[in-house]
């Protein structure tokens, strides 16, 4: 009943703090690049799945309707999938069910975010993700919830800020090789430690920037994919999970929702020992500690052990388990949904051996991309194979 689904093309725009393009135009640029790279035209596409985070960024109510012509969705079945920050990785999952179900043979999946319209700062939109009666009156910011989680994580496993800073150093360094990156830079742990505290323990360089950008992939059924390319990348496992709304009732030290989502994807892909079987991973890194947190949830590191793995260099591009070889959100930028899709694109290029200067040293056959979202609540996971 379930059909095998492949990624056959990918596209991405520059990620920048402010772009001239409208959300439609950004979507067009990424979609067109994905079509061109797959050798397809819009006529070959049967359905469209889009992803974008809150309407409060782009500044259009029901933005899934507004931008759809930029995604080539006129006259086509289009659905916008939405799980907060998890949306980027969830967008190709939406495409996956369009194709795996047998309903469509080709699906264009586009993620777009234009955060710059919101003034004075895109961060403001995050105030309205909190409970309107019990939390917003306190003047909540997204930074609070991250710093509270980071503190709890550090406390439970005795992790030092310096160890966490290694992630920012690695990812911003990796991003130097990404032509679309916003914040690629060679920095040191000291730079991170000395950057201004914004919401302690979170400091300026622990955080990814707000950005504008779009990214896209094209999915095809097995039959179509084999006709199109001799290098399909198979989307063999997908998983997603949402935890309770009541984030203050949970142990913030461990992302159980990521574990559940990962196990769903691993089961589907037939992965028994993820640490051995996954060759390259792009976990979600809007904050540096999040990469570590997620590696543990993904079962790629034991609980509290991801920092040591990072310090030991295991997660470097030439390491045993390269993590965020793209440069991640910390380096490439964080146009929310598009950033998750950037990770899908990266694994696609890594598994095809097309990542150029970013290509990991080991022979990567199986890759993983993951995103997180909402109130420390959503995990979205995909497992891909060459």
């Amino acid at each position: 009943m379930r059909r095998r689904v492949a990624i056959v093309g990918a596209g991405i725009t520059l990620f920048r703090r402010r772009m001239l393009e409208t959300p439609k135009e950004l979507s067009f640029e990424a979609s067109k690049m994905a079509l061109d790279s797959a050798g397809l035209t819009l006529k070959d596409i049967q359905s469209v799945v889009s992803g974008s985070a809150p309407d409060a960024f782009d500044g259009v109510h029901m933005k899934g309707e507004y931008y759809l012509d930029g995604m080539g969705a006129i006259g086509k079945p289009h659905e916008r999938v939405y799980v907060g920050g998890g949306t980027g990785v969830f967008t190709p999952i939406g495409g996956w069910w369009n194709v795996a179900s047998g309903l469509y043979d080709t699906c264009l999946c586009v993620a777009e975010e234009k955060m710059s319209p919101l003034h004075p700062h895109p961060q403001y939109a995050f105030w309205s993700i909190f409970d309107q009666i019990l939390e917003r009156p306190l003047g909540t910011t997204l930074l609070w919830i991250f710093s509270l989680e980071m503190r709890r994580y550090m406390h439970k496993y005795g992790i030092k800020e310096e160890e966490i800073a290694e992630v920012a150093v690695k990812n911003k360094g990796n991003a130097i090789d990404h032509p679309c990156a916003q914040l690629g830079a060679k920095i040191t742990v000291d730079d991170v430690m000395r950057s201004e505290p914004i919401c302690e323990p979170v400091k300026r360089l622990d955080v990814s920037p707000p950005s504008d950008g779009a990214a896209a992939v094209i999915l095809a059924s097995e039959k179509v994919a084999k006709k199109l390319t001799d290098q399909p990348v198979w989307l063999d496992g997908v998983g997603w999970t949402l935890d309770s709304t009541h984030w203050t009732n949970r142990d913030l030290a461990y992302p159980e929702y990521v574990e559940k989502a990962a196990k769903m994807a691993y089961k589907m892909a037939g992965i028994k020992n993820p640490r051995k079987e996954i060759d390259v991973a792009e976990p979600y890194d809007p904050f540096d500690y999040k990469e570590l947190h997620h590696l543990e949830g993904l079962q790629l590191a034991g609980k509290g052990e991801a920092p040591k793995m990072t310090v030991d260099g295991v997660t470097q591009r030439d390491g045993d388990l390269p993590v965020c070889p793209s440069g991640g959100l910390l380096g490439v930028g964080n146009p929310i949904a598009a950033a998750g899709m950037m990770k899908i694109c990266e694994i696609f290029w890594q598994l095809r051996g097309e990542a150029g200067k970013r290509q990991v040293k080991k022979d990567a056959r199986t890759g993983l991309a993951q995103a997180w979202g909402d109130l420390m609540q959503v995990g979205t996971v995909t497992v891909m194979r060459s």
Partner: protein, 367 residues
Amino acid sequence: MTPGLSTRELMFEAASRAYEDAGIDPRKDVQSFVCCTEDFWEGISITDEYMPDQLGAVLRPLCTISSDGIIGLATACMHIMSGIADVAVVESHSKISDVVNPDEIASFGYDPIYTHHHFDADPRFLAGMEMARYLKDTGTKREYCAQVAVKNKKNALSNSRGVHGANIDKGIVMNSPVAASPLTELESSRGIDASIVFVLASAQKARKLGKHPVWIRGIGWSSDTPVVEDRDFARAEYVEQAAARAYKMANVKSPASYFDLAEVDDTYSYKELQSLEALRLAPKGKAGKMVDTGVFDVDGRLPVNASGGSLGVGHLLEATGLHRTLEAVMQLRGQAGRLQVPRAKRALVQSWRGIPTATGAVAVLGN
């Protein structure tokens, strides 16, 4: 209005009833949950945060589809067809009574550069312009639109959910205040509150769960251009496309004679006519006359919006499509009470996402 329940409590009320009806435990039996919402209708950015607990979906796959409930049903179907679920749940709701300035929110859906910021008008200006052009291009008489409101509001009097039911004539409808000429206020549906939950199951599982399965035989959805200036106002092209997909899947060759009843979009009176033509339930330009002569009355050849539709019951934002589906399911199960269409076996449901969209969905249901 539902002033005594929060959105989440309203959802729990609907979900617990749906699960009891299906005989399932959401903590064990459901593999996927789908919610259809839009942020600004809720006053929350990222509304899926507030969805899992009251649906029994904690630590389970749940996602938002920012669209109408029928597209949510289509998503659940795809989850079942791709083998990741044998039972899936779809929820959508309206809590419009929580929203103080809904017209301003609806306006915010227009293109910010070209269709919004340079004037300050009731967002239904688009409905008025569409209706005017529809009447002109099809030669439909203006009073036929009023008859849609007359019919649906009358039908709603027999529906326990029919908040906006009324026994009025065309004169009252046409003389009610102008919303966006020629559209009047009584031809424009009003928002109400509700949460609607559906439990979907694979064929195999449905047979085990027994009770009263209603089958989704075909489903389709489509979007016309979001650029309102590019559209043909006389036609609902998105409905034509969505219907073509649903009919193909259900192998419906002659829709006009296939169905026993239809629940179609009547957000505004003229929308019902436009939709009936796009669904091929009426020839182009003939839907108005057919409504006027009673073809689509409860006792007519094809009852359309026997429930009262959005004009008679109320508009439910993204849950509108689920409302239509609910009314059709009750009919197919023979549980529609005073609304019951005799021997109803095949039903058509269709929805539109409202201004300023050109997105809609169609489902073919049967027992």
